[in-house]
Amino acid sequence: MTETLDLSAIELKDPDVYLHGVPHASFQLLREHDPVHWHPETAPDPGFWAITKHADVVAISKDAQRFSSAERFIYYEEIPADAMEMRRSMIETDPPEHTRLRRIVSPLFTPKTVDAYRAHTRAVADRLLDNALAKGEFDWVHDICEMLPIRVFVDVFGAPEADADYLAKLANMLVAVDDPDLAPPPEMYERARARGFEPHHLPFSSPAALDLFDYARDLCEARRLDPQDDLITRLVSAEWEGERLTDSELVNFCQLLVFAGNETTRNSLATGMHQFILQPEQLDLLAADRSLMKGAVEEILRWATPIYTFRRTATEDVELRGKQIKQGDKLMMYYISANYDEEVFEEPQRFDVTRDASAQVVFGGGGPHYCLGAFLARMQVETLFTAVLDRGLRFELAGPTARLRSNFGNGFKTMPVRAAQA
């Protein structure tokens, strides 16, 4: 073969690239030919190293000392220096600062604690399925996925269930700033500007963050006056060497949790159902042998990979697969590529609930930033699909689906369905 391969045309940052599906062919080429690939960006953005192999995502995730989350944050976006402290949450810190913040909330998200939310989650799932099925045709994304995780989350968080839909709407407007159908309306931008906030001052450069901050501030104040057994109370009463969390730490923490506790799980539930609609025999396998369910959850998550990528910044010069990474360089870790790495998952393009997908890096590649909600997410995926199986339900598409326009969140914004014969 004398044919030369031009990888410079591969585009991974443009949200349009993800509109009609994950660009698996590009990732596959990079894994095979240039797994640590220099990807240019439009000036003034600096360009980045696209990390596409599972082993490298894991190694970088576990090495928080050389690959920082705090230095330049964790997204494609270059955060202006004057906005950093206003926007920083736990996910944009490094140890030991990260460790201090993480331990405040960790006890509420362990496998043992999460088990206590199982019955509530099932009750919510049953209620949502009852309501949706009564309609005949319904939108799996809107009627189920958008509704379930936020209702589980408010229970942990300590917000009233009546506020669930409002919080879900704000969470959508954080992640969907690049999608014209879901982005915040112009008046929200105007309202933020009138209060002195340009979009770049706010998480996700979304004015919806300001509304979330306001909401969080009120809830924090209520719990200071009247402590409860919930996450908000833990946040407002946490002390570290006599110091409480600052206002900015508190509201950013709440913003992070509302986003992370909602968007990721909802997109996994949507993508999971989409696969079961395309391949009902996979659901039949689960129906015939429920002991496959735990493993199926890992495969659904691997397949769904609801967050494509997070960034790290090199704190020193590092050599990786022969490439010279300089101090300050930007690295994008593509979980979506790592989860389809042929070296780890045989025939990765095959959705197979019987495979061992436990090496998936949906919750990150390990290290201190391992997803706080990993067990809560697993429990919800398991609970919802168990509820579907218990009812003997199968679904079919009742119209065209639409994917989210985003280079960050992998999901559907609509999926019309109707119940089908099992």
């Binding site: 576990k62 140890p95 030991p96 990260h98 460790t99 993480r102 331990r103 405040i104 909330v105 960790s106 006890p107 998200f109 362990t110 496998p111 043992k112 604690t113 919750f363 990150g364 390990g366 290290g367 201190p368 391992y370 990993a374 067990f375």
Partner: protein, 64 residues
């Protein structure tokens, strides 16, 4: 064979996977850190604990 494990208190962020694997060996505190109970566990369980910790905070102390 039974062995003891240790947890690096600087590295542990209280994920709780270890507690799920062996409540006999590990208990997650309200301080958000996993603590060893001091009970020795089977070497296989101990190895599973070490391998399963996302932060790599667990190690075996007295393998012999």
């Amino acid at each position: 064979m039974k062995v003891h494990i240790v947890i690096d208190p600087e590295t542990c962020v209280g994920i709780g996977k270890c507690e799920e694997i062996s409540e006999e060996a590990v208990e997650l505190g309200d301080d958000g850190v996993s603590h060893v109970t001091g009970v020795a566990v089977d070497i296989d369980v101990a190895r599973n604990l070490c391998d399963s910790c996302p932060t790599g905070a667990i190690s075996i102390v007295d393998e012999s």
